[in-house]
């Protein structure tokens, strides 16, 4: 079984951190790729981190477009004591994968930080981790999160105790920088932000429902629900 102790320090840690921080990035069929790769890129290069993609079984896992396959290097059963869990969301109306939910329930008591991006929060809620707690998720799934017992909070990143939830998809980058600052102090996070040149300048300012006309919100909501109900174009 993989634990933090099983991994040798990486080249990136400069020998300063004897015990790597195991970051478990959870994959399941239909995951949204940017939800998980955003935090991965921020966390994988940080000193002393050991980032591991985990899934029910090792091997390829297909995303919600049916076009992107990421390889899990370890099974959920092999990763019993991650320091940090990152679970991303999915553009799917399916019920959360129960194997993942059970794993979250098992490992959460031992984590330093348990985090989600987008509808990954619905996985945390299904595991009973957000009962009665403030949390965020993708704006179009706020009602679903509440239905599962959390209190939806309209913020980019919500930190409560050791649980950090992020809003939709791209919010995982902001969440991971917040997390990195908690793990190693703000200087490391600031340097990492410079390293990935994260000085966002989107060509439009339409990233939040509060910033666009209500009609656009409803059109996009409808498109998202239609995509969520559809099978990916070339899923396996």
């Amino acid at each position: 079984m993989l634990t933090a102790d099983d991994h040798a320090p990486t080249a990136a840690d400069g020998g300063q951190q004897p015990k790597p921080v195991t970051i478990a990035l959870v994959l399941y069929p239909g995951f949204t790729a940017l939800d998980i790769i955003g935090p991965f890129e921020v966390l994988a290069f940080a000193p002393g981190h050991d980032a591991v993609f985990v899934a029910a079984e090792p091997g390829p896992v297909t995303d919600d477009t049916g076009r992107c396959q990421l390889i899990a290097s370890a099974s959920l059963d092999q990763v019993t004591a991650p320091d940090v869990v990152v679970i991303g969301g999915t553009l799917s109306t399916k019920e959360p994968d129960q194997e993942v939910v059970q794993w979250l329930r098992r490992v959460h008591p031992g984590t330093t930080w348990t985090t989600s991006v987008c509808t990954g929060a619905i996985y945390l809620a299904a595991a009973g981790i957000l009962d009665g707690q403030d949390a965020t998720t993708h704006w179009a799934w706020a009602g679903e999160l509440e239905r599962r017992g959390a209190r939806y909070t309209e913020q980019r990143v919500v930190e409560r105790g050791k649980v950090i939830t992020a809003a939709g998809v791209s919010a995982g980058i902001d969440m991971a920088l917040t997390l990195l600052a908690r793990l190693h102090g703000p200087e490391i996070a600031m340097g990492l932000q410079l390293g990935i040149e994260y000085d966002p300048q989107p060509p439009f300012d339409t990233g939040s429902p509060s910033k666009v006309p209500p009609e656009m919100v409803e059109v996009v909501r409808s498109q998202l629900y239609t995509l969520a109900a559809a099978e990916p174009a070339s899923s396996k």
Copy 2:
């Protein structure tokens, strides 16, 4: 050989676009995952798009952390007429992969848009696509880009003719939204931005060398060059 015509419309296009737009996302050993997944997430869900990960050979390709493996579904030889090319960067001091450079040189004349993220611009320069042209790349590799014949332009996204280059890593998201607006008009791009809830709120404002003290720039530059010279922790 794969061309745009070989692909059936995806579920996402709603039947509006009879001829899919083939988006070739180029993978090579040592690629930076977020460089390519940022644009992928923006472009893959757009109506009528067919996103394809391509590499020298189909199969897994390992990133520059040694921790992330993405699967290429097609070889470079199979994708002869992509409408859009996206080439991401790498945290590596190696010379650009010659097979990729030759492929870029071959397909570029037929593309609608040829784009890069981060040091992917160095691949475009190596293919002769940026000779004497304004372009951007990761700030720490600006000199290298100039050495290869381009004029480094300190902007997040630089569009010249049908070539769009983006700054480091995370800038690919901004580039892809710009590209999407060019392909289908601003409304589609604005809706997509809302769909991925791209309302960035980084916890710090240190994403550009102009925003931090010179000492931090030099520390991060030195760390990047050290990482670039090192072998990934668990590369194959």
